[in-house]
């Protein structure tokens, strides 16, 4: 009994610390995105609130809390109210199993990878419910498109990670990182380059980011599934999108880039690098991927819907299957 209370106490403390830092990062990721996109398009981005607009995220949070929460008259009220919370909860609770450093993880669960994929799937419900309950044509189309897109790319996403599981022989994310550190180059990126490619493309589609942001294509659907949302509930969808971006980047860093470890060969050449704490390596890898998301958004035009489905089903899934076949063959002859 006393042990149970201890576990509860420690996990609440850990969660508070983890989420506090995480939400700060997410708030500043919105700022970073506007800055990066601004500079790609030869603009300055936010410049008004604080020096170089550094306080912009705080101003945004305050604004969103004080905004009126409009619930249109024809909506399915209960579903409409609950849908953003489902999205946010799914996006936040993904981080329960993501290790940021050696021994810093809220739950070092043995099926961590499955948990992440499963919970990421729950987020789709928030989007479908929101799109359906709004009783608005744009939201409805956005929700439908999003449902088809997310389930299509979920298959590719899950299959691209089978190669990693084959090599690591574990679902535990910490174990996957440790396994990579046994290789001299310290990451599964090189043997699993095909899987990594499929993973990144599928992650872009899963998080509804450009060039796959069909569910919220603003030039045709205004804002897609959250047209009718405003104020705090709108901010939940916004937050969920950025959180999903972070969890996908963290998953890429853990499964393909060696998580919080530095490549052993690098440490052998420059022993001084071993002084850098693990979390710095981890954040470097995560922010590389976050930057990649922004960079692609600033560079690529949006795909058409039929192109999107064709890429998912005709390119990514065969590629992922091919990767599994090749990996298992090489593994057998080793």
């Amino acid at each position: 009994m006393i042990e149970t209370l201890y576990v509860i106490f420690v996990s609440i403390l850990k969660t508070a610390l983890y989420f506090g830092i995480l939400l700060l990062h997410v708030a500043y990721a919105t700022y970073a995105e506007r800055k990066v996109i601004g500079h790609i398009q030869l603009r300055l981005g936010p410049m008004v609130v604080g020096p170089h607009g550094i306080l912009q995220p705080i101003a945004d949070v305050v604004k969103l809390i004080f905004k009126e929460d409009i619930i249109p008259s024809n909506v399915d009220k209960r579903v409409f109210a609950i849908a953003p919370i489902i999205s946010l909860t799914a996006a936040l609770s993904t981080f329960a199993v993501i290790p940021v450093d050696k021994n810093f993880v809220i739950s070092d669960m043995s099926v961590g990878l499955l948990y992440v994929l499963g919970i990421a799937g729950v987020g789709t419900y928030g989007i479908i419910f929101g799109g359906w309950a709004s009783n608005s044509k744009y939201a409805f189309l956005g929700g439908l498109r999003s449902a088809a897109q997310m389930i299509s790319y979920e298959v590719a996403l899950a299959m691209s990670l089978v190669g990693v599981v084959l090599m690591a022989e574990s679902f535990n994310l910490s174990e996957i990182v440790n396994k990579q550190n046994e290789l001299w180059y310290g990451m599964f990126l090189f043997p699993q380059i095909l899987g990594y490619f499929v993973f990144i493309v599928a992650a872009l589609a899963e998080t509804n980011r450009l060039p796959f942001d069909l569910p919220e294509a603003e030039t045709e659907l205004v804002a897609g599934y959250f047209v009718e949302y405003s104020g705090i509930r709108f901010s939940f969808y916004y937050l969920a999108e950025y959180l999903a971006m972070f969890s996908m980047s963290a998953l890429a860093a853990i499964c393909f880039w060696g998580g919080w470890t530095a490549p052993p060969v690098l440490i052998k050449i420059f022993p001084i690098l071993s002084l850098i704490p693990g979390i710095v390596w981890f954040l470097l890898k995560v922010y590389f991927h976050i930057f990649l998301f922004f960079w692609l958004r600033g560079t690529l035009p949006r795909y058409r819907y039929d192109q999107l489905m064709a890429i998912g089903w005709k390119v990514l899934i065969p590629l992922a299957l091919f990767n599994i076949v090749i990996t298992s063959l090489i593994k057998y002859y080793q």
Binding site: I8, T15, P72, S93, S110, V222
Partner: protein, 126 residues
């Protein structure tokens, strides 16, 4: 760690995280309800349709293709469900695991080619 401790040490924290995530959502809505204005009127509460009055109901029939994609998704998702435990124990079983999974993937490939032939993944009007 004893055999009965996994639930407490590994899964209870996950439950706590989920509960805290839910609480963050609900508490933000409650906090916001104290400070936000509420001034509804009929025009504000109509669904957005670029300014013109909304025409017809939204909860209507929609393209069958969405259903078909969902059905194909179920098949492929089940395949992934089988692939994961296979990948985990692959090294312990060896040749049989390789052979059986290739047979499994081959059978699925036949279904996949059938779906391709039926133009399920072509989204244009046919």
């Amino acid at each position: 760690m004893g055999p009965g401790d996994f639930l407490r040490d590994k899964y209870l924290p996950v439950l706590i995280v989920i509960v805290i995530s839910l609480l963050i959502g609900f508490s933000l809505i409650i906090i916001s309800s104290f400070v936000r204005p509420k001034r509804p009127y009929t025009l504000k509460l109509t669904p957005y349709e670029c300014g013109v009055p909304s025409a017809g109901d939204t909860w209507n029939r929609f393209n069958i293709k969405f259903y078909i994609v969902a059905i194909v998704f179920v098949i492929f998702d089940v395949e992934t469900v089988f692939l994961y435990p296979w990948a985990l124990v692959y090294n312990k079983i060896g040749f049989y695991a390789l052979l059986e999974m290739y047979l499994f993937i081959f059978v699925l490939l036949i279904g996949y080619i059938y779906a391709l032939g039926k133009n399920i993944f072509n989204w244009e009007r046919d």
